[in-house]
Amino acid sequence: MHDEPLNPNNLSPAAIEQEQLDARIVRALETTPKPMVPPDFAARLGSRLPAQRPESLTPTHYGRNATLLGIVAAFVALLAVALHTTAGVAVGFVESLLLAEFIALTVWLTVRRQSLR
């Protein structure tokens, strides 16, 4: 009798057994237990909570909103200054400041939004 491997993939019996064992272990690990959760668990826990009121679960976006408002305000101000006919040194300085603020806020908001994704 030839000593040919029975497996078409030329796996040794030991390797086959190893694979079967791995599969069994994974199957056992992936079997999810179904523990009995007491029906009143959430209510019972609710009554046990300390007096301290938790923070809202809703993430706040005060900073982002303020930034957006700042961008809009800077843009409107830039338009107003640009329409100003009597351009002097002071007006030019204000315009530069507003432009810098506008660019800085826009860049900061864009970078932050990308980092939060």
């Binding site: 690990l29 079997t31 959760v37 959430a42 046990r48 938790p54 679960l57 809703t58």
Partner: protein, 186 residues
């Protein structure tokens, strides 16, 4: 995303996940209710620092792992005999029948499941936690790394090491079963 969610709703949405994770991590039904309460109370206390940049689920996994670790430490101190998952009184596997298999195969699989549970409890806490989060809770490496606060490479290493230990521990059993089957077939 979490607008208008009350804490009680959060508990209701996640209680099953917390119970089953704790059950697998501690290997015991004993104090399961208390441990789950502890998890949610810790979440409640942590909410002021919750910035919304992580899912509540991820946060809860981290807390559950910590609570389970504390429980293990407590047990080690007490040195009390505890009910194992493989004990007669617990046996959640009993409620997982395989309708397409015969009774003998079912029994064999149940015994194997119990053996896996037993060996799972022999692993280190971190290996057990990672195996449970990966296989049972189907979390990704990234999610596990985030939940446990460790690099992804470390997660992979612990997972690999834990599975290797399980395999080595269960190998003799598999061989024994195979030999028994061969003897019966002769």
């Amino acid at each position: 995303m979490y607008a208008d969610l009350t804490f009680e709703q959060v508990v209701r949405d996640h209680q099953e996940m917390v119970f089953r994770t704790l059950l697998r991590l501690t290997g015991s039904r004993e104090h399961l209710d208390d441990l789950a309460q502890d998890v949610f109370l810790r979440l409640y206390r942590a909410l002021p620092s919750f910035r919304g940049d992580a899912l509540i689920t991820t946060y809860l996994y981290r807390i559950a792992v910590n609570v389970a670790q504390d429980e293990w430490k407590r047990r080690r101190k007490d040195r009390d005999t505890h009910t194992s998952l493989s004990d007669e009184t617990s046996g959640w596997e009993d409620r997982l029948p395989h309708p397409d298999r015969n009774a003998e195969q079912q029994l064999e699989e149940r015994e194997f499941q119990e053996a896996v549970e037993g060996q799972l409890q022999r692993l280190s806490h971190i290996e057990r936690s990672i195996i449970v989060l990966y296989h049972q809770e189907e979390r990704t490496y990234e999610q596990i790394a985030y939940a446990l606060g460790m690099p992804i490479g470390t997660v992979r290493t612990h997972l690999h090491r834990g599975r290797k230990k399980l395999r080595e521990a269960l190998q003799p059993r598999q061989t024994h079963e195979r030999n028994a089957t061969c003897t019966m077939n002769r």
